[in-house]
């Protein structure tokens, strides 16, 4: 059991107070003329340049997944955990391909979420709803993963878990989350964007110090690799096979490649990553980011190696065993045993804040999605921007509560499965969102049915897969045609195949397709200047910056309460 370390505790509390202050203060950063507009609360005014975007996107992408889940997998199973490095390497060339088109069409049409885009592009409210609901569902386990990360740190610090009372045990976690919920509520996307600076500084310092300092203390990399290899070769009594390998075995290569590809394709369909893209100021910012964000991939690779460092530290192995064999503790325990108290405190803070920032961005993104695509479409088509923002704020709170439930209820043996499970779901929106950016060939109803098939297949197969001591949702890979494969990829292939076949059938029988409100030029549009308060375009020349998604449904002109009576110029006659 970990002992309570007062110095580390004070440092963690101190850094938490600092970011809390920043969170509340961020409401006054780049103040908006109209803070009660969804472009402001939900997209930070759509004015983030390269510098802020870099921190924000990095904050979105590198999360407790990076600091806790990936090293935990490396610690327990070795080379297979490095699929995450492969994934974060190939994700940026992939986003380079479709990111600029997504940004342009969203800017040109005032979309704030992937659901908005899908509804407009395919002329299908049902498909928009499906994408929105999938985004919200898939985001929840991802936020839950952040909670598991925070919990691992708190456990290592000796807070909470020692007691049998479940309320006291979860109290620190709930408190931390409540504070984030409140400043996210008030400041919107500005809060995590500013805190991301602090987070990244803490992380870079921790990782660089760790990678220089720890190997020397452990007897060098040679020893770290050989100690890990020795462990991985031993036979796991539960499965009768070795725990893993130091290099991916031929039998594991399919799983490795499909996990990497599936995760890479999925990442930028997640609502929070899309939000990060939409918040950029210029089209070129996206491409530049694709070349600059790999700095985070390098960090991820180094952090993954922490798994091996932890394995080579006997005290960490003992600590993991004492806590029921929870590999999530390997990195926090490594910090505890390798660093002096004060620096361990810095490391803990890095992990905690590194989990809170993406949790905030994810809940904002899911809230945008809910507000624009579900609330506005189904319940209140005439909602004013201020009403939208109020609903989005409430939805962001609900998302956090939902994720807290996920985190408290689910088995956490391998938290990486939470992210991979989310990936199975979110990837089923890939055809409607990403393929939809390039072609309107697919029929809207075929896409809905394909989505349903992919979702059903993915969920059923994941449910049936045992692992990590649980009967259901135990792993995210399953054997298909003799190869162990990431379920998300198989589901996506089914999804696309069904959509394609049905598209041909529906065209043959003449089933009416949806109206595409976007125009060819929207996908390459690059409006330069966007007023800070994009709700009030000064000239009709920038109708793009007005959120018009719902307005065109309202007969008789602009939405009530909409400040500028700009004509809805860009809709085809």
């Amino acid at each position: 059991m970990s002992h309570f370390d007062a110095v580390a505790f004070v440092i963690v509390i101190g850094s938490f107070l600092i970011v809390t202050y920043i969170g509340f203060a961020s409401a006054r950063w780049r103040p908006a003329e109209d803070p009660m507009h969804l472009n402001e609360w939900g997209l930070g005014g759509r004015g983030f340049g390269t510098f802020v975007s870099w921190f924000l996107l990095g904050g979105d992408i590198y999360t407790a997944y990076t600091f806790i889940a990936v090293p935990a997998l490396v610690y327990a199973s070795g080379a297979v955990g490095f699929y995450a490095l492969s994934y974060t390497i190939m994700v940026f060339p992939i986003v380079f391909i479709f990111g600029p088109r997504l940004w342009s069409v969203a800017r040109a049409r005032g979309y704030v979420s992937p659901g908005d885009f899908v509804r407009g592009r395919h002329g299908s409210q049902g498909l928009g709803l499906a994408v929105a609901a999938t985004g919200i569902l898939a985001t929840m386990p991802y936020i839950a993963l952040q909670l598991v990360g925070i919990e691992a740190v708190l456990t290592t610090m000796g807070i909470g878990s020692a007691t049998g009372n479940s309320f006291v045990r979860d109290l620190p976690l709930i408190t931390a989350f409540a504070v984030v919920a409140v400043y996210t509520y008030l400041a919107g996307l500005r809060a995590p964007a500013l805190i991301a600076f602090v987070k990244d500084i803490l992380i870079y310092v921790t990782v660089i110090v760790a990678i220089i300092y720890i190997p020397g203390k452990l007897g060098g990399w040679g020893h770290i690799f050989s100690a890990s290899e020795a462990h991985l070769k031993t036979v796991n009594p539960a499965t009768g096979k070795p725990y893993g390998s130091i290099v991916v075995m031929p039998a594991g290569q399919w799983a490795f490649a499909t996990l990497a590809l599936g995760s890479a394709l999925a990442l930028f369909v997640y609502p929070h990553a899309v939000t990060g893209v939409f918040a950029a100021k210029r089209r070129d910012v996206i491409r530049r980011q694709a070349a600059m964000l790999p700095a985070y991939s390098l960090m991820l690779g180094l952090i993954a190696l922490f798994g091996y460092m932890a394995r080579a530290t006997p005290a960490v192995n003992a600590g993991v065993k004492a806590n029921g064999g929870n590999p999530q503790l390997s990195v926090p325990l490594l910090f505890e045993h390798m660093f002096p108290s004060w620096f361990a405190g810095i490391g803990y803070s890095a992990i905690i804040i590194g989990a809170l920032v993406p949790a905030a961005v994810m809940s904002i993104a899911a809230a945008n999605l809910f507000t624009r695509t579900i609330y506005k479409e189904l319940f209140s088509p005439n909602a004013t921007p201020a009403q939208e923002t109020r609903v989005a704020r409430l939805a962001s709170l609900l998302m956090k509560v939902g994720a807290l439930g996920f985190a408290l209820a689910l088995n956490k043996t391998f938290s990486i499965n939470l992210q991979l499970l989310g990936g199975i779901w979110i990837l089923q929106t890939f055809p409607a969102v990403v393929i939809g950016l390039f072609t309107r060939w697919f029929h809207r109803i075929a896409l809905i049915i394909g989505w349903a098939v992919g979702m059903t297949y993915g969920t059923v197969v994941a449910y049936r897969t045992p692992g990590g001591g649980q009967a259901h949702f135990g792993a995210s890979t399953a054997p298909v045609l003799g190869h162990v494969t990431y379920i998300a990829i198989v589901a996506l292939i089914l999804n696309v195949a069904v959509s394609a076949v049905l598209t041909v059938v529906f065209r043959k029988i003449g089933l009416q397709d949806g109206y595409d409100e976007t125009r060819r030029a929207d996908y390459t549009a690059d409006p330069v200047t966007v007023p800070a308060a994009s709700a009030r375009p000064r000239t009709p020349a920038v109708p793009a910056t007005r959120p018009t998604a719902g307005a065109d449904r309202v007969p008789g002109g602009p939405v009530p309460g909409s400040p500028a009576p700009t004509a809805h110029t860009h809709r085809g006659p």
């Binding site: 080379a79 490095f82 490095l85 492969s86 390497i89 190939m90 940026f92 060339p93 992939i94 380079f96 600029p100 088109r101 800017r107 040109a108 060098g220 990399w221 040679g222 770290i224 690799f225 130091i246 290099v247 991916v248 075995m249 031929p250 290569q253 490795f256 490649a257 990497a260 590809l261 089209r283 070129d284 491409r287 530049r288 694709a290 070349a291 600059m292 790999p294 700095a295 991939s297 390098l298 690779g301 180094l302 125009r519 030029a521 929207d522 996908y523 390459t524 549009a525 690059d526 409006p527 330069v528 200047t529 966007v530 020349a541 920038v542 109708p543 793009a544 110029t569 860009h570 085809g572």
Partner: protein, 81 residues
Amino acid sequence: MAQHARSGKSPARWGVVTVLLVVAIMGTLWVPIYARSAPKLGPFPFFYWYQLIWVPVSAVLCWICYLLLRSKPRTRGVVPR
């Protein structure tokens, strides 16, 4: 005025970008290339140092693509119909 991403960019330029991006993606997607422990770089098996080196390589490839496709800043933000 449409800001066509492809306007002013020759097909050859797009071809180069496509090839560079495919190389960047396949570099780690094709696992058999690097699923081996030799040659080692110091104590690091090939599997690890290859992936770590591929991070800056793919970043450079993306940067070249960015430079090839970069658009000149414009003065007016007119969204075409």
